[in-house]
Every structure is written in C-alpha cells, then in structure tokens.
C-alpha cells in the first residue's frame, strides 16, 4: 500500500497538470473550459484520496462498523463540485455570447478581431 | 479692534486671498468690479501684514495651530523674523503688482483674465502660508500649492510654446519636490522625529554627518524653486507667462519661496553649527558659486530681455543659497536681506520690460537703443533697478551684498568672495548697458520720437518699486533688524 500511496498522489498530480495544460494551451474556449473541469476534478480526486482509510467504509453510520473514511473531505468536495459546475455553466454562457458577437470561439481569432477594431 | 487678534490676522493673510478668489470668480463678468476686488483684497492683506509687523516688533509671540494630521505632523503657523521679511515683501509687492497688472493686462488685451486674477490670489495666499509655516510639513504643503496655482499662469497664453514651458515648469518643480524634497522631509522626520522649525536645528546630537550631508543635498536640489543649477531650467521656461506673473511670481514669490525655504531649512532644521560639520556643505557651496557665474554668463548671451532677466535671477538666487551654505550669522542675515533687496530691484526690471513690451512691442535687448527718450521714466527706473541688482549705492542692493561678502569673510570662503566680486562685474556687463544705451541718441538722421510711456497704473507701479530701491538704501535699519534677529 505504501507504493500505492505515492503512486496515487503522483498520478493525481499528473492529471491536474494535464488539465492545467489544456487550460493554458488550448486556443478553443470550450476546450479551455473542459480543461478547467479536468483540473478541478483532479483536485477533487486528491481531496477524496486524502480522506480514505484503508479498510474503511462509507461514512453512513451502521452497527458493527468502526472504521469510516473521512466524511469531511466528501462534504468539501460536494460543495466544490457544485462550484465547478456553476463556473462551467457561466463560462459556457460567456462563450455563447462571445460566439454571437465575435463569430468565433478561438482565442487568436478574437485577438485578431480586437486588434482590427 | 479687540477681536482682531494677531492670530486672526495671521490666518487672514491666507484666507483673504482665498476669499478674494471667490469674489473674483463671482464678479468675473465686470472687469472693474473684479479688479476692485483684487485691489481691496491686497490692501487688506497689506494692512494685515503691517499689523503683524507691529505685533512682531512689540515682541508678542503669535502661534496658530490648525490641525494635527498625525503625531508631530501638524498644519501650524508661527510669526518669526525671516517669515516676516518675506511676508512684508510679498504683501507690499502684491498691491503694486495688481496695479501694474491692471494697466498691463488691459492694454495687452489678454484673455482669461478672471482665471489670471484668481490664480494670482491663490498663489499669494500660499506665499503667506510658506512665510508663516512653523514646520517643514506646513511649508511643503503651501510650497506645492504655490507650484500648482502658478501653473495656469505660466500657460496663460495657451500657445504650444506656453504649454511646453508649463510642462517644463511643472515637471521640474513637482519632480524635484517629490523625488528629493519630500524624501528629505521624510528622512528628517525619521532621523529627528520632528519637523518643527527650531532655533539651532532639530537633529539630535550625534546624528551621523553622512546622513545629514545626504539630506542637505536632497534639500538643496529638492527645493527646485531656488533654481540651483542644474535644476534652473524651469525659470527661463516660465518666462512665457504674462509679465506681471514673471515680475511678481518669478522674480519674487515663487523663487523667493525657494530660497526662503532653504534659509529656513539651513537655520532651523540643520542649525548653523551642524551645517558646518556636514561634508557636503562646501561642495554645495561651490556648486552655488558656479551657478552664480554660469547663469551670469548665460544671461550675457540672451537677447530676449525677459530671458536675460530670468538668468540674472538664477544667478541672484544662488547668492542666497550660498549665503545659507556659508553657515554664518552674517551669511544668513545677508541672504534674508537679499530676499527683499533683490525682490524690489528685479521686480522693477520686469515691470520695465513689460512696460516696454506693451508700449513699444519690443522684447529684445538689441531693439532698446535710444528708447530712453520715449520712455524716460521707465528707463530711469530700469537704471535704478540695475544698480540695485549690481549692488551699487545708492540702492538697497548694496547692503545685502555687503553682508553676504562679510559672511563669506567670516567663513573664510575666499572662493565665494571672488565669486561675488566677479558676478558683480558680470552684472555690470549684462545689465548696465541696457539703460545706458537707452539714453544714447538714436541713430543719425532719425527724428527723436515723442514721449510715449506705459499705461498710468503700470507706470506708477514701477516708479514706486524703483523708489523703494532707493529708500531701502537710506533706511535699511528695520529690515536689517529683522534679518539680524533671525539667528538670535
């Protein structure tokens, strides 16, 4: 399990960084938002991993069970997921409007059009 | 009259000009009423200043405290000898200049006269703030108000040249005051813990001379209004302003506020003893000396009369700066007296230059040959002013120069003595020919033109200031007493 511990976190970090990379690097605004989602979801995975106890169960109290995984991280991430979808929805709304007024959702096209103006 | 306490009088010297602004703006429609407001305000202020002088002579201490912004940082005022000199000069000359301006501005058909008189009043109000400030912070505030209120006067003409001049003016004055002066004030506050003007200086014993020396450099360069080289450029640039502005502000109020500040700082922040110990004092003294000579040399090459006078001012200001840096009682006395003497002399010259401009539309020295026959009064006044600037009897200028020389002697500064001598010679070379040539006969074959003098208010004004140059030679006593009491 010791190996898995480090391995798990490292892979999660790789996931985060892939998301981060998509955010910075994509030219397409929708893909940027998807990257943002990936980035955030990976952070959620990190949080949930932190709360796990080997051999624990879901934190729904029941007789005969003494070892529960940390319920607090679950609560935090529930909140964070909601925040994430709210951000995505708002971001998409802006993208829709950008598409209407610029006719494109590609970053460099937008820059080019702004320069023209 | 009981309600008119000295404290109230002191505050009124600043408030009356501000109230006058309101009056000027309200009555802007009618020239006569507007100018009457200015005249009345300046009369009141003059009366107040004379009242204060009597109070001061009676030995009554006057202190006013407006408010304290933070501990040790307050807006407050105190009546004191050096400030009294400055206030008297400014009070007398404001009235005179208003008269002069009425004649000049009307016959020159200037625009925006309402703004002109309003800014003028604000500038004078802040001069009194500078004069009576009891600490460096208060002085700094009014110093900046003075800069800002004179900016519209400099750019009055609204031409591209005026804009450029205005930008130079503001750039140098604001720039030096924020980058150096404010920095020096902060440093002083940090080292000494106070900014109060105190006899003998504020720095505690054992203050590092290196820090003190650095602060002195910052002060000397930071007070851009003292126009020490290389921060003198704003003064010639400001000559684009109408002549009354050049006369009062750039021969008297603004530049004198600069050297006044330096004298104050030298005497009451550093103290003469500490000043003597500083490693940078001598270097700055030499710079001031160099400034005197170089400015005179530049002045010789100027054909534009106002420009020539401006460089002459730069040179004369450095006299006073040098007087402070000599760090002797006589130097300070001479410097303080020179504030007044130079003011009367130089304003006379500017008045004359303006009078020539409005009457004969001539601006260059080379055009002035023989005009003494047309404008005898003006050119006679010019001659008196010239003598005063050079420092020759029978004019007041000879006294202040005498004290500066004896200050240099006390301090064993042969270099400065030499500078003063040489500069007097240079003064003769670039100023005296003007009135003398004016009375040369015009070129052969040209009929001597009829007398055509400046408008009467202007003529009266310049005669008065010329007369004052002579009077101050005969009765220098009150002025001397004030100046000599500064360091006691």
């Amino acid at each position: 399990m010791e190996f898995l511990g480090l391995f798990n976190y490292w892979v999660v970090i790789v996931l985060m960084m892939i998301g981060f990379y998509i955010v910075i690097c994509s030219n397409n605004l929708i893909k940027k938002l998807i990257g943002l989602t990936i980035f955030q979801t990976s952070v959620f995975i990190m949080y949930i991993s932190m709360g796990k106890i080997t051999g624990g169960t879901a934190p729904v109290l029941a007789d005969g069970i003494t070892l529960y995984s940390n319920p607090l991280t679950h609560v935090l991430i529930l909140t964070a997921i909601v925040v994430g979808i709210a951000t995505t929805a708002l971001g998409l709304a802006i993208v829709v409007r950008i598409h209407e007024s610029y006719g494109t959702v590609e970053e460099d096209d937008i820059h080019a059009k702004d320069k023209q103006a | 009259m009981n309600s008119l306490t000295p404290e109230l009088m002191l505050q009124l010297t600043m408030l009356v000009p501000v109230l006058a602004i309101a009056g000027i703006l309200l009555t802007g429609r009618s020239e006569n009423v507007r100018e009457a407001v200015s005249v009345i305000a300046s009369l009141i202020v003059l009366a107040l200043v004379i009242g204060l002088y009597n109070t001061f002579k009676a030995g009554i201490a006057v202190e006013v405290n407006w408010f304290e912004i933070m501990p040790g940082l307050s807006l407050s005022f105190r009546l004191e000898a050096m400030g009294m000199i400055f206030a008297l000069v400014a009070g007398v000359l404001w009235l005179v200049t208003i008269f002069y301006a009425i004649g000049y501005m009307r016959s020159h058909h200037e625009e925006n006269q309402t703004r002109f008189y309003a800014c003028f009043a604000l500038a004078i109000g802040s001069v009194f703030g500078v004069a009576f400030a009891s600490n460096l912070f208060t002085l700094f505030i009014f110093y900046e108000v003075l800069t800002l209120s004179t900016y519209p006067l400099v750019t009055h003409a609204g031409t591209a040249e005026a804009k450029k001049g205005g930008r130079t003016y503001l750039g140098i004055l604001l720039g030096t005051s924020i980058a150096f002066f404010l920095f020096a004030i902060l440093g002083t506050y940090f080292v000494a813990g106070t900014l109060e003007f105190t006899q003998g200086g504020v720095f505690p014993a054992g203050t590092s001379v290196a820090v003190g020396g650095a602060l002195l450099v910052l002060f000397v360069f930071g007070v851009g209004k003292a126009a020490i080289m290389p921060f003198h450029r704003w003064l010639p640039a400001a000559m684009v302003a109408p002549t009354p502005v050049s006369a009062l502000l750039h021969a008297v109020a603004v530049v004198k506020a600069g050297v006044f500040t330096l004298l104050k700082v030298g005497t009451f922040i550093f103290g003469l003893d500490f000043l003597n110990e500083l490693p940078t004092t001598d270097a700055l003294l030499y710079l001031a000396g160099a400034s005197v000579i170089i400015a005179s040399l530049i002045a010789m090459r100027q054909d534009n009369l106002k420009k020539r006078l401006a460089y002459s001012t730069v040179s004369q200001l450095s006299y006073i700066t040098a007087g402070m840096l000599l760090a002797t009682d006589a130097g300070i006395t001479g410097g303080a007296m020179h504030i007044a003497m130079h003011a009367f002399g130089k304003i006379t010259l500017f008045f004359c230059a303006g009078a020539i401009l409005v009457t004969l539309h001539k601006t260059d020295v080379s055009q002035l040959r023989g005009i003494g026959w047309q404008m005898p009064v003006t050119m006679a006044a010019f001659l008196i002013g010239t003598l005063s600037i050079i420092g020759l009897p029978p004019t007041g200028g000879s006294w202040s120069k005498w004290f500066l020389l004896s200050g240099a002697l006390d301090a064993d500064q042969m270099f400065i003595m030499g500078v003063l001598m040489l500069s007097s010679l240079l003064n003769i070379a670039y100023l005296l020919p003007i009135p003398i040539l004016a009375f040369f006969p015009p070129a052969d074959g040209v009929a001597r033109p009829a007398i055509k003098e400046a408008p009467l208010p202007s003529l009266l004004a310049l005669s008065f200031t010329a007369l004052m140059c002579l009077v101050l030679f005969v009765f220098p006593q009150p002025l001397y007493e004030l100046a000599a009491s500064i360091t006691q």
């Binding site: 898995l4 391995f7 798990n8 976190y9 490292w10 970090i13 790789v14 996931l15 985060m16 960084m17 892939i18 998301g19 690097c25 994509s26 397409n28 929708i30 893909k31 938002l33 990257g35 979801t41 959620f44 995975i45 949930i48 991993s49 932190m50 709360g51 106890i53 080997t54 051999g55 624990g56 934190p59 729904v60 109290l61 029941a62 070892l67 529960y68 995984s69 940390n70 319920p71 607090l72 679950h74 609560v75 529930l78 909140t79 997921i81 909601v82 925040v83 709210a86 995505t88 929805a89 708002l90 998409l92 709304a93 802006i94 993208v95 829709v96 409007r97 209407e100 590609e106 460099d108 | -």
Partner: protein, 332 residues
C-alpha cells in the same frame, strides 16, 4: 483486488485526459470529458465517497456534458487546426509552467501522511467528533449529510448561493432580448417514436427517484443537490423529446426563476428562524423544543431548499441555452 481496481481506474483517467489533449473534435472531447467524470465517480466509490460519486456522475457525466453539447451545437464542433506559420511558443511555455507547478506539488507530497493511513491528522482531528457524536447530536446515520447540512451548513448555504449566482449570470448574459420566445420549436429527437414512448413512461419514474433521493439523503447517499440534478434532467429529457415550447407549457419560465429564488430563501429563512428563536444563524436546535427533532427538521428543509434551487437553476440554464441556440439556428 481493491488496489488493482484502483490502479486501473487512475490509469484510465490518465489515458482519457491525454486523449482529451490530443483530440481536435470537440464532440469527442466532450464525450471523453464525460467519461472522465464517470471514471472519477467510480474512483470516488472506491474511496468510500458515495455521495460525491453520485454527484460527480450526475454533474461530470450528465449536466456538464449536456451543457457543453448544447453550446457546441451553436459554436461548431471542431477546434480550429493550428495553422500558424511561425512556431507556436505557447505549448512550450505551458509545458514549463505545468512542469514547475507539478514538480512543486510532487515535492509537497513527500511529507504527506501515506495514503490510507488511519492515524493521519485528517482522521484524528475534528472528524472523530462527527463520527462519534453526530448520531446523538443530529440523529441521522449519513454523516456526510449531517456535516453538509448542519455542522457545515453555512458552506452549503454558500453553495446554493453559488448555483443561484450562476443561474443569475446565465440569465443576465444569455437570456434572449426578445420577450417572446420563438414560436417554431423543433424538438431534438421528435422523430424517434420509440424513444418518445419509452421516455414518457420513464419521466415519472425519474421524478419519483428524484424525490426518493431528496428525502432519503439522511440515510444513504443522496440529498438536495443530487435530487435537484435528477429532477432537472427529467425536464431536460422532456424538453429534448417534446420541444421547448411543450416543456415551457409544463413549467413556466418565470415560475422557474421564482423557484430558484425561493430555494435560497427557504434555506436562508431556516437560518433566520433559528436566529429569531434565540439561536445562532442556522442553529437547527432552536427550530424545535427537542434539539434532535430540530436538526431533522432543519436538514429536511434546507435539503429541500437546495433541491429546489438546483433543479430550477439547471432548468433555467438548459432552457436559456437551447432557446438561444434555436434562435441562432433561425438566424442562419
């Protein structure tokens, strides 16, 4: 076995993420992102986080995919191929930045308590109180629900407000300027008769399930948020099959907006009532004479508030998006 599944899932996550970077077809990217959501939901199940898994599945694989697809229908499905003649420096810069950030994070993990350890600070501080005392203090078995709605109920209030804010934002930005909606409405899948019939039967069941999730949250995974999402998806399904106008006839647009506000207000007023009764904001103990009964009542009400707001905001967002896209379709 568990650790094997664990490794497989995270490797699949990595594969999906890399695929998302490479693929240019945004439709595929969206689907992959949905898969990414589903995979992380499975991972959460493995981590004993059933509530989170439920939510992530509903959001990551459900709602957000749907929203992105709706947006794509307006903006076009392909990412522009990079045709810049000069070398594009951005990927390199991004790579450097990402590497540095990642390296810092990996550096940071070195002193972290090992994965799954029971004596890590996260397990020994603060949390034991929830696990040991919530049964007596709150009286419901699902500890996540206790914390969510009571111990940290204020965070959840914030969360509802976040959702409400997003709804307001979408309305403010995308709401059509015209007061009347376009009349001609073509449902996305109106041709599929079988689908329509099956769905018509399914929709009531979905709603019933939503209600179950809503009110069962105290005992098992579920709660207001998940219920709200499910409830909204029933409507969205209806709208997709029978057209927006039909859906609007069922639920009026203004009404949905009011409901979204009412959900927040319901949550807020529970807190205010507690205040009026002499407790602190959101102190459910003061809702009833019996503290535990008060807690139960409070949690029930706030979960309901969450459910109402989430469902109505989701419906608002979906409706405004599709209305916009159809309007745009006409304009073309």
């Amino acid at each position: 076995m568990e650790s094997f599944v664990h490794v497989v899932i995270i490797l699949m996550l990595v594969t999906t993420a890399i695929a998302i970077v490479r693929v240019k077809d945004l439709f595929a990217v969206t689907m992959l992102a949905g898969i990414y959501g589903l995979l992380s939901a499975s991972f959460f199940v493995l981590m004993d986080a059933h509530d989170v898994a439920f939510t992530e599945a509903a959001v990551g694989a459900g709602i957000s995919t749907l929203l992105v697809l709706t947006t794509l229908s307006m903006t076009g499905r392909f990412e522009k191929a990079s045709v810049k003649p000069q070398a594009d420096y951005r990927p390199v810069l991004a790579l450097v930045l990402v590497t540095v950030t990642g390296a810092l994070l990996i550096y940071g993990t070195q002193d972290m308590p090992g994965f799954g350890t029971a004596d890590a600070p996260v397990q020994t501080h603060v949390v034991p109180r929830y696990l040991n005392d919530s049964a007596t203090e709150i009286g419901i078995p699902n500890v996540v629900a206790s914390i969510l709605a009571s111990y940290r109920g204020y965070d959840t209030f914030g969360e509802v407000v976040v959702i409400f804010t997003a709804g307001i934002g979408v309305l403010a930005m995308v709401m059509s300027n015209a007061t009347k909606m376009p009349v001609v409405q073509t449902a996305l899948m109106s041709d599929h008769v079988v689908l329509r019939i099956v769905s018509k039967m399914l929709i009531p069941l979905i709603m019933l399930f939503a209600l179950y999730v809503q009110f069962h949250g105290e005992y098992g995974p579920g709660g207001g948020f998940q219920a709200g999402v499910i409830f909204a998806s029933a409507f969205i399904l209806y709208a997709m099959l029978f057209g927006l106008t039909a859906a609007r006839n069922v639920v009026n647009h203004t009404l949905v907006q009011l409901l979204s506000a009412l959900g927040v207000l319901l949550y807020g007023s529970v807190g205010v009532v507690a205040m009026i009764n002499g407790g602190n904001f959101l102190d459910y103990n003061f809702l009833s004479d019996d503290p535990v009964a008060g807690q139960m009542l409070g949690i029930l009400l706030v979960e309901l508030g969450v459910g109402i707001t989430v469902a109505s905001v989701m419906i608002i967002i979906f409706f405004t998006f599709t209305a916009r896209s159809q309007k745009e379709g006409e304009a073309d």
